[in-house]
């Protein structure tokens, strides 16, 4: 959609493709990261009865700008014994992994990177790059703590991809499409058509699906939380044990790259959960644009609803971070293999039977 509109505008394929691929980064991820870093510190502050950053700008608004400037002018330390090429490439790979996921995410009916019909599988595949980046960072910084952290991160992310995939399979079995755009289109018109409330089906089928969908939403939310290394699964950068895991040796712009990747990943993950279960960019109670007749308002409303849902889930991630303690590595694995995977298999089985009904 956007690509065609831009192509008609500029007439030059490469330019249009270039703009489309850069738009999510500059239009969405950087502003989001700006807000998210500040929001995390403010939310955590108020949850702990304190005020959080108050000095830079009114109530600490410009705090993230200050952070970025600090990180920019910080000296970019590279320890002598590190493996230079891997050390420098790792943050890029981690950011590439999480930024590429935004290509297939439909921000609104009009504003979508590329409407590939393998959307969800592409995203899961691309976020696999992050594991390679983390392992590279852990190994290259030649420090025992980061090595331990990287090992843990690799084991954790790989094993938590299985429940994510299984839940995605149940959604695909249910709706029959892999493309995120079609998934969002299926869940149109009012919130009870969202997949969390059983999707666009009728009668007994919908009623049976509701508990399963709620449970599978819970499972995919926890497992994607683990993929992003957020508490209670933030063992790779467990401050109290491993100082700060794989990005101990990084400083300056490289550290900012890791930081940005983490927040971009956070939003990507909550966007996936929003699309799969909460109707992507569909508004819960109809569009103002349709009732008022302004057709250009609908994509804007869709964009608004999409970011609202995404931000809500990001808030829940922050909320969890400041409430829960941290898992131990073997408990983390046990939780994934003994609880999430069996549950998601059972759900996949039952949903398969229901769709046959």
């Amino acid at each position: 959609m956007m690509y065609d509109w831009l192509f008609s505008l500029t007439g030059n394929e490469i330019l249009a493709m270039f703009i489309v691929s850069l738009l999510p980064l500059f239009a969405f991820i950087l502003p989001f990261a700006l807000i998210a870093v500040l929001a995390e510190r403010k939310v955590s502050a108020h949850m702990q009865d304190r005020l959080g950053p108050m000095r830079v700008g009114y109530h600490g608004i410009l705090q993230t700008v200050a952070d970025i400037i600090k990180l920019l002018q910080k000296e970019d330390l590279v320890a002598t014994a590190t493996d230079k090429t891997l050390f420098n490439f790792a943050p890029l790979l981690v950011f590439m992994g999480s930024y590429a996921a935004f290509a297939a995410i439909p921000f609104s009916g009009f504003f979508i990177g590329s409407k590939i019909d393998l959307g969800i599988i592409f995203i899961v595949g691309v976020t696999g790059l992050v594991v390679a980046g983390i392992l590279m960072a852990g190994w290259a910084s030649n420090n025992k703590y980061s090595l331990l952290g990287a090992m843990r991160a690799a084991a954790q992310i790989i094993s938590y991809e299985i429940p994510t995939l299984l839940i995605i399979l149940t959604i695909v079995v249910l709706t029959g499409t892999l493309s995120l755009y079609d998934l969002s289109e299926i869940q149109t018109a009012y919130f009870w058509n969202w997949l969390i409330f059983g999707g666009p089906f009728f009668g007994l089928q919908k009623l049976l699906l509701i508990p399963l969908m709620i449970l599978s939403c819970l499972i995919i939310y926890t497992s994607t939380l683990a993929e992003v290394n957020r508490t209670p699964f933030d063992i790779p950068e467990a401050e109290s044990e491993l100082v700060s895991g794989y990005h101990t040796e990084y400083s300056g712009m490289k550290f900012a790259m890791f930081f940005l990747a983490e927040y971009a990943n956070m939003f990507a993950v909550s966007a996936i959960v929003a699309i799969l279960f909460f109707g992507g960019y569909q508004s819960p109670f109809g569009y103002l644009g349709n009732s008022l007749g302004w057709s250009w308002l609908v994509p804007v409303e869709q964009f608004f609803w999409f970011t609202a849902k995404g931000l809500f889930f990001v808030f829940v991630q922050m909320w969890l971070r400041w409430t829960l303690p941290r898992f131990r590595v073997d408990q983390l694995m046990a939780f994934c293999w003994k609880y999430l995977i069996p549950f998601s298999f059972v759900i996949l089985l039952i949903v398969g039977l229901i769709t046959l009904m």
């Binding site: 109290s240 100082v243 303690p325 941290r326 590595v329 408990q331």
Partner: protein, 371 residues
């Protein structure tokens, strides 16, 4: 042919976020499993005992504060009780009551630090700040009474440096009224959280025989299910005038004597201390607090060993006087010093993350270990 695995020696070095001070743990690791822990101490050694030999008796008190800097009121209390027994001084009733109130408030403050940092070690950062917010109220109480927040020099030999501040009683009552719901909230947030239980139950179990053999004391010993509290078993001051009971580890969430038991014993102990403070506040007699302070302290030649129930365990003072103005020898039996010996036995076979959990549950302070 068995796979040859090479042991990795990891230094949880003196500067590490969760070693509660400057302690170096040399871990021999096989992957993540710990084969052996060798603690190295001495980084915070300030020759307390050598100082004491050059100081007069009242001048030693500011030094006792700096030993266990999280419970310095109780260090002074121990030293004062030891000296009063050596000099056979009778202290007025009001002084004893104020000392009990201050000691128990200090126990709550010290436990709050222990529980808060323990939550932060396991990963939950919010309870840490809740605990420190409540502890701030207690430090304010100390500040209005004797002027200092952490190192008080308040309990002197034979009395106190200041009397209670006029609105101390009112502020303490307010604190107690506000603190109870906060304690319940802390329980909801941390103690009964399934992940916290998962991380602490059945971890680092301290069997009772090794505990007694090593001489472990305080919440760590009571966590292993042994009802032993010096306030009742070797009574000093006016503790026998109040009724409170001694919480012990019951193995509620796992085996008796695991990290969770030691943690929960401290939570229940805080409730008991609240009870003591309440009773002491209501029945505090009047009187002058500085009447029994001797002008020049020259004890007869002799030696005495006295012990008090410090928030971290049994704090013993062994004082030898040779009749002069300065003590000949002051040896302090620090509870954390003894607990640190058991630590390497507690950690065998657990994982790196558990070393942090066990170290947090054992609640040591390096100022006391290194003296």
């Amino acid at each position: 042919m068995a796979l040859k695995t090479e042991e990795m020696v990891l230094n949880m070095g003196p500067q590490h976020p969760s070693t509660h001070g400057v302690l170096r743990l040399e871990l021999q690791l096989d992957g993540e499993i710990i084969i052996d822990v060798v603690p190295h101490i001495g980084y915070l050694h300030r020759c307390f005992e050598k100082h004491c030999e050059a100081m007069t008796y009242p001048q030693v008190i500011p030094y006792t504060d700096r030993m266990d800097y999280l419970a310095s009121m109780y260090n002074e209390f121990g030293y004062a009780v030891a000296m009063e027994r050596l000099l056979k001084i009778e202290v007025p009733e009001r002084v004893e009551y104020i000392r009990v109130i201050m000691g128990e408030l200090q126990r709550i403050a010290s436990h709050l630090v222990a529980l808060g940092t323990y939550g932060a070690d396991i990963g939950a950062f919010t309870p840490f700040l809740f605990c420190f917010r409540d502890r701030e109220r207690i430090l304010h109480l100390f500040e209005i009474t004797c002027g200092a927040r952490l190192l008080y020099n308040y309990i002197w030999i034979g009395g106190l440096s200041h009397d209670l501040h006029p609105d101390f009683i009112r502020l303490t009552k307010e604190f107690i009224k506000d603190f109870r719901p906060n304690l319940k909230e802390l329980n909801d947030l941390l103690s009964f959280n399934q992940i916290f239980i998962e991380r602490t139950a059945n971890v680092g179990v301290l069997p009772l025989e090794t505990a007694i053999n090593y001489g472990v004391s305080g919440p760590n010993l009571r966590g292993s299910g042994f009802k032993w509290d010096l306030r009742k078993d070797d009574p000093y001051s006016v503790y026998n005038k109040f009724d409170y009971d001694i919480p012990i580890g019951t193995g509620e969430k796992g085996k008796v004597g695991d990290c969770w038991d030691r943690y929960f014993v401290r939570v229940k102990e805080m409730e008991e201390s609240l009870k003591i403070v309440e009773q002491a506040i209501d029945t505090i007699p009047d009187g002058d607090v500085t009447s029994a302070i001797p002008k020049r302290i020259k004890p007869p030649e002799g030696q005495i060993y006295t012990r008090v129930e410090n928030p971290r365990g049994e704090l013993g003072y062994f004082i030898i006087s040779d009749g002069s103005l300065n003590p000949a020898r002051v040896k302090v039996r620090a509870p954390s010093f003894v607990t640190m010996q058991v630590f390497s036995e507690l950690c065998k076979g657990w994982m790196v993350a558990d070393v942090v959990a066990i170290l947090g549950s054992v609640d040591i302070v390096l100022g006391e270990i290194d003296r």
